[in-house]
């Protein structure tokens, strides 16, 4: 299969200052990204942020208002959809109802005048494990099977880029997990660049080598899933991709590697290398699972140099793998803490006075101009949309 990707000569996809306006509203706003050849690239964002519009412009189904699209050195911006070496797996699959599975999959090959399609189609149907259903009509297939036909129909053309618009959106949770693994396997096998649009952050994290988090027509941050998760650069990313505790403070000083921050009278330390703050206003951020909860009486057990906050437990929920605490800090902000259930026995209870602490190396700093609630609603909506299916 490695030979296949080499003969296929995969190339980078470049979007340059890509903009699409519908009336006054910029659905996609000056987007510039390079999607590396052969990568599994996820475009992650809440509903309405412009993901579909971006994909449709790459596919040639929508004309950009300005900007350009290149594949390798070739500018495809002005090419019509049927002239582009790009194929799409549509959100609704859009299988041709009057053609059987075989002919659906063969459609692209036949249009390009390929004479003997039988062997290629059968091979592709085997890849998606649908060989036995070749003569069925799309309506006779389950959702998961239709989804795989849609993938096969696009992939058989060996496109430079395969676009997938929420391909798993219509499947139930179990099938979705299964197809995530399946799609990942197929991508590794064929080596084509996959651009996968989703609003499901877990899906993006498990499948993609590179995630671009999109918000209101722009890319907020792009990188390896772990990189974005561990070091979000904006409040939106911190809140949309997983959860974060964000505390507004001011820079009080700095040592060699650390910035000293004061927030609500409490001192925090943030590594300089992990801060994207530019002025004196700064937001101190930490992921919930990086924090530890101790009884307030055990304050002396907090390791030296750790960031720590006193507070009172307002909610405890036990989820098996972990316990989630809500802790209200002295200034009223509720912090969320995930603690792994390593110790059998006493847990903190609602009403307990506690101290929450974490290592500065797990702390990140955001620019003080950011809204600490950015992306919270979007994340909840995306979660609802995923759970609702």
């Amino acid at each position: 299969m490695a030979e296949q990707s080499r003969t296929n000569q995969v190339e980078d996809l470049h979007l340059v200052n890509l903009t699409k306006r519908f009336g006054d509203m910029a659905a996609v706003d000056d987007l510039t990204i390079t999607i590396p050849a052969g990568s599994f690239f996820a475009l992650l964002g809440a509903s309405g942020c412009g993901k579909t519009t971006t994909l449709r412009m790459v596919a040639g189904l929508e004309d950009p208002t300005s900007g350009s699209i290149r594949i390798g050195d070739k500018d495809v911006t002005r090419l019509r959809a049927f002239q582009r070496p790009v194929n799409t797996v549509f959100q609704s699959y859009a299988l041709f109802p009057h053609l059987d599975i075989f002919e659906n999959v063969a459609f692209g090959l036949r249009r390009r005048g390929v004479k003997d399609v039988k062997a290629t189609v059968e091979q592709m149907l085997d890849l998606v494990e649908l060989g036995s259903l070749a003569r069925r009509k799309p309506t006779q297939l389950s959702g998961g099977q239709q989804q795989r036909v849609a993938v096969a129909r696009a992939l058989i053309n060996k496109p430079d880029v395969l676009l997938l618009d929420e391909p798993l959106g219509a499947l139930d949770l179990k099938l979705r997990r299964q197809m995530q693994i399946e799609l990942k396997r197929i991508q590794t096998e064929v080596g084509t660049t996959f651009v996968h649009v989703t609003h499901d952050q877990e899906e993006a994290m498990t499948m993609a080598d590179t995630i671009a988090v999109m918000n209101a027509g722009r890319i907020e941050q792009m990188g390896h899933p772990a990189e974005i998760y561990e070091l979000p650069k904006t409040a939106f990313v911190a809140n949309f991709l997983g959860q974060s505790n964000l505390i507004e403070g001011r820079v009080a000083g700095a040592s060699d590697d650390l910035i000293d921050v004061t927030a609500y009278g409490v001192a925090f330390r943030v590594p300089k290398s992990r801060s994207s703050a530019t002025g004196t206003a700064i937001i101190v951020g930490v992921r919930p699972e990086k924090m530890t909860v101790l009884d307030a009486l055990d304050a002396t057990k907090v390791p030296d140099g750790h960031n720590a906050i006193f507070g009172r437990v307002t909610d405890v929920s036990y989820t098996g793998v972990s316990t989630q605490y809500l802790v209200r800090a002295a200034w009223g902000q509720e912090l969320i803490v995930f603690e792994q259930n390593m110790i059998v026995g006493d847990r903190c209870e609602v009403g307990d006075d506690v101290i929450v602490h974490w290592a500065p190396s797990h702390t990140f700093g955001l620019d003080g101009d950011e809204n600490i609630n950015a992306g919270v609603d979007a994340a909840v909506l995306a979660l609802d949309a995923t759970a609702g299916q």
Partner: protein, 297 residues
């Protein structure tokens, strides 16, 4: 010895399936009664009439008979009218399809908020009576009318006129049955998911190929319904030929009408009606079978 089973068994309570089928019969009843009274009985009467023999010496009086020769004489005399009926109806259907398809396509995909108005405009002529509309066409196509004058200035009319030619009859048929073509086509096209056409474009089909491979096959049910709804009444029509054509353009409908009303030759008229019905049935079934297989690819 096996024990003898009691011969009387208590009837089991009807199952859900049995109850459903009983409901089905009840629902069928009004329609079946209607068909029996207004279709089956006249059908049998018509068939019997077509076999009657004349009462000697009394013109216009017939009695029961098995005169299958009525069919032979009717066909021998009127086969040109039959042929004309099918040719005129065929051409009118083809023209109606040619005119209606782009129109229905436009209404289904491009009309936006004008869709409702355009559909009303398609049906609007039907608010006036069929006869009245055809009379209006008599004026429109008259010898000194603007259309005729214009076409004559281009020297495209073989006879120098339109009225009382086969062109007028075909034009009238096309016009009168156009809504029966447009509406089924619109209904079929409107159901096509535009995303399928995008998918075809995405899979290297040019707009023309997308039409040929996706839009056209998916609109086939509308094409079949529309052509049938146009062809069948057009083949049996006599008003257009009567009002717009000359005696050389008479269709089988005119023959039936004259035999019934003027000659009072009921057996010939009935025989003609029967042949017309049978011919249409054969044509329609052949057509549906062919269209049905084409639809698969």
């Amino acid at each position: 010895m096996a024990p003898v089973l009691p011969s009387t068994v208590v009837a089991p309570a009807p199952t859900a399936g049995q109850r459903r089928s009983r409901t089905g019969y009840v629902l069928l009843f009004p329609g079946m009664t209607w068909l029996a009274v207004f279709f089956a009985i006249p059908f049998v009467t018509l068939f019997l009439t077509s076999l009657q023999t004349p009462v000697p010496g009394k013109s216009g009086r017939y009695r029961f008979g098995l005169e299958f020769g009525n069919y032979a004489t009717a066909l021998a005399e009127y086969w040109p009218a039959f042929l004309r009926s099918f040719i005129y109806a065929g051409i009118a259907t083809a023209l109606a399809l040619l005119i209606s398809y782009p129109l229905a396509y436009f209404i289904a995909f491009r009309s936006g908020r004008w869709r409702g108005l355009m559909l009303v405009l398609v049906i609007a002529p039907s608010f006036a009576s069929f006869l009245l509309r055809t009379y209006a066409w008599k004026t429109i196509l008259a010898d000194e009318s603007p259309i005729t004058t214009f076409l004559n200035s281009l020297h495209v009319l073989p006879d120098g006129r339109i009225l009382n030619t086969s062109i007028a009859v075909i034009a009238g048929l096309t016009y009168n049955f156009l809504p029966f073509m447009v509406l089924p086509l619109y209904a079929a096209l409107e159901k096509i998911d535009p995303r399928l056409i995008e998918a075809a474009n995405d899979l290297y089909a040019s707009p023309a190929t997308s039409f040929r491979k996706v839009t056209w096959p998916l609109s086939m049910p509308g094409v079949v319904a529309g052509t049938l709804l146009t062809f069948i009444p057009a083949a049996g029509d006599y008003i257009n030929a009567e009002l717009l054509g000359s005696t050389k353009d008479r269709m089988v409908g005119n023959a039936i009408q004259t035999n019934f009303i003027e000659f009072r030759d009921y057996p010939t008229a009935s025989a003609l009606s029967f042949v017309l019905m049978a011919a249409i049935l054969v044509l329609v079934f052949t057509y549906i079978r062919r269209a049905g297989t084409e639809e698969l690819f």
